[in-house]
Structure formats: C-alpha cells, structure tokens
Amino acid sequence: MIPASGQGEPEIEALRVDRYLESILVARERGTALTLHDAGLAADLRSTAERLTSELTRIHPSFRFEERLAGRLAELAAALRLPAAVGGEASPPPPIGFDAEDRFDPAHPVVDEGDPSSFRARPLLIGGALTSAAVSLAGVVFVAWRLSRPVHPMVRAIRAAHARADHEGGLA
C-alpha cells in the first residue's frame, strides 16, 4: 500500500528507524532512559540499534600523537600568519605529508571504492588543465628561447649576405 504522501513501505520504515535512532541519541546526550517505543518498528531492528549504539564506540588517538599534530598545526598557523601580517595574501606553504592533488579542493568529492555515485571527472579535469597549461608554457618558453638565444657570428654573416643579395636583386 502506498501512503498518501507518495512514500513506499521501505521509506516509511526507514523514517521510523531514523526517528528511533534520533531518540536514542537524544536520550544518550541527556543521560536519560529511552522513552520512545515505536510499536511499528521491528523488535530486531530496535535491539540491533541499541546494541550498535552502546558497542560501536569512538576510538581515541594517543596523547602523544595529539600533541605532535597540534605542534605541526601551530607551525602551519604561524606560517599562514606571516604573509598576512606583511599585507600579502595568506597562502599556506605545502605541508609535508600530502601532495598537490590533495590541495586542489580538499572537500571536493572524489572517487571512492564502493561508491558507485562517484566519478572520475576531477583527475581528468586536472590532467586536461595541466596538459593544456604545459603545452602553452612550452610554447611560450620556445618562443622566448628563440628570441633571446645568442646568434652565431657565422649565421649572422650568412643572413647579412642573403639580405644584401636580396637588396641588390631588388635594385637590378
């Protein structure tokens, strides 16, 4: 049976589970006993939810690691403050431990295993941009090199001879 809202039975049950989990978390946060008893929710789902709530606990890092990373962050913070202090735009130095790809847009969704909705647009985009930038850069460098390189005296003499010959031919 489809309810008037257009939601099917699985969605309704998913909503019930969501409401139940929310109530577990609220009860836990307040330190009170769970008061919500949704008769429509299967008993095995209720007991599994309660079991996961109590047994899947947060795992804490070591104090040593926490302080070491705090130190690294303080170093990065100081480096970020320096350019801003002299009036420039604060741009962070690349911290050791991650590559340029990481810094592209850290919160941008990337391809992940087991996630069929993700796609490979970002590497392609980066690859394309890098390729096109590299080609442009190579062109600029080549032209600059051609214009600035020292000309061999022999080449200069040949060019002068050609120019003279052309000039004389033109007069004749």
Binding site: A42, T57, E66, L76, A90, D112
Partner: protein, 206 residues
C-alpha cells in the same frame, strides 16, 4: 515582481542562519588568527581519528589520515562556506560536515595509495590488514567483535553511514552532506544496513 520577494526571503534566511552553525565563532576566530584553529582541532580530532580508524583498520593509517585532514582543513579554511539551513537544527555544524568531507577524501586517497603499493604478506600478517584488525581491537576493548564484524561486512556506503550515525552520532542531514547524497537516500542506507546487521547477528550467537 518576484525579485524583491526572493531578496526578502534570502535576507530573512540569512538572519536565521546566524544562530545555527555551532562552530561559527570558532571558525571566525580561526580565520582571524590561524592559531585559534587549535580549538577546532581539539574538538574534532577524536571524531576524525575514529572515523579514519573504522575506515582504514589500523592506528598508523588513522593517524596519517587525521594529520592530513587537519593540515588540509587549516590550509583551506578560507574556502570553507557555512551552509547550515534551518532544517539542520540548532546543533548543526557545517564545519564538521566540511571537515568530514575532507577526511573522506583523504581516506580514499590513502586507500588508492595502498592499492598502488600493496602491503607485503609478512607485514599484513603482522597486523597491518583492514577491518579484521578493527574487529580484534574493538572486541578486546568492548567485547563488541560480533557487532563490528557484522557492520564491517556491509557494502562500503552502508558501513560508512552506520559508522557516522552510531560512532560519530551525526544527524541524517550531516551524513547526507558528507556522503553527497539526499537525506532520503541516507535513511534508506542506514535502514538497509541495520536490517542486514540484525539478520547477521540474529543468525549467530550474541
């Protein structure tokens, strides 16, 4: 004319947003002075670390992921946009969602690195392997091996949704923001995951 109406609605929404994001003051302080990022770091380190640990299965990789996540977050903090909506509730933190999106990407990068440089069998045998290590340690600490093992057997997105819900105690809206899915899709992921775990645990002795 529609335009002034939209402007009024937007302005009203912006006024309401002022009270919503619980990390707003900390983020603003960190934007003014990067050293103040330490407060956000202390607040979320255990959450990010725990998420990485459940995803990657060992302390070494979890530390690596947490370190990269916070360094990236501090470096890119000026790109963070607060996006709390009234429906997200009073306790919403879009900073936490943003941070976990970074963590998720970092974890994916570490996984890709692992695939490119597979661990030698001798190292794997010494305890570098994935979810079984989490199972063992969680089991040792909390005698919850069976529960975690059932969660670990789920497809990645269902497992991730359950970890964010039960370990990190996130709302459906926050999980949707992190996984890049609709809230309805997240509810279904959690429901299916929970049902599979219930079936799994029901078929075994607790």
């Amino acid at each position: 004319m529609a335009r002034p109406v939209f402007r009024r609605v937007k302005a009203e929404e912006e006024r309401r947003l002022v009270h919503l994001d619980r990390d707003r003051s900390l983020v603003e302080a960190a934007l003014r002075d990067p050293a103040a990022f330490d407060a956000l770091y202390r607040k979320y380190l255990a959450q990010v670390y725990s998420y990485a640990y459940y995803e990657l299965g060992n302390h070494h990789d979890a530390e690596d992921a947490a370190e990269r996540t916070f360094l990236l977050a501090l470096g890119a903090l000026d790109r963070f946009e607060e996006r709390a909506r009234p429906v997200d509730g009073d306790g919403a933190s879009t900073f936490r969602v943003w941070l976990f999106r970074i963590a998720r990407n970092v974890v994916a990068n570490i996984r890709r690195g692992r695939r490119r440089q597979p661990v030698a069998p001798i190292e794997a045998a010494a305890g570098m392997a994935g979810s079984t290590d989490v199972e063992r340690q969680v089991s040792e600490r909390h005698e919850a091996g069976a529960a975690w093992a059932a969660v670990a057997r789920l497809p990645a997105e269902r497992r991730r949704a359950l970890v964010l819900r039960f370990v990190e105690e996130m709302s459906t809206a926050e999980i949707a923001g992190i996984l890049g899915r609709s809230e309805g899709a997240v509810r279904v992921l959690i429901h299916r995951g929970l049902r599979a775990v219930a079936r799994d645990l029901g078929g075994r002795r607790w």
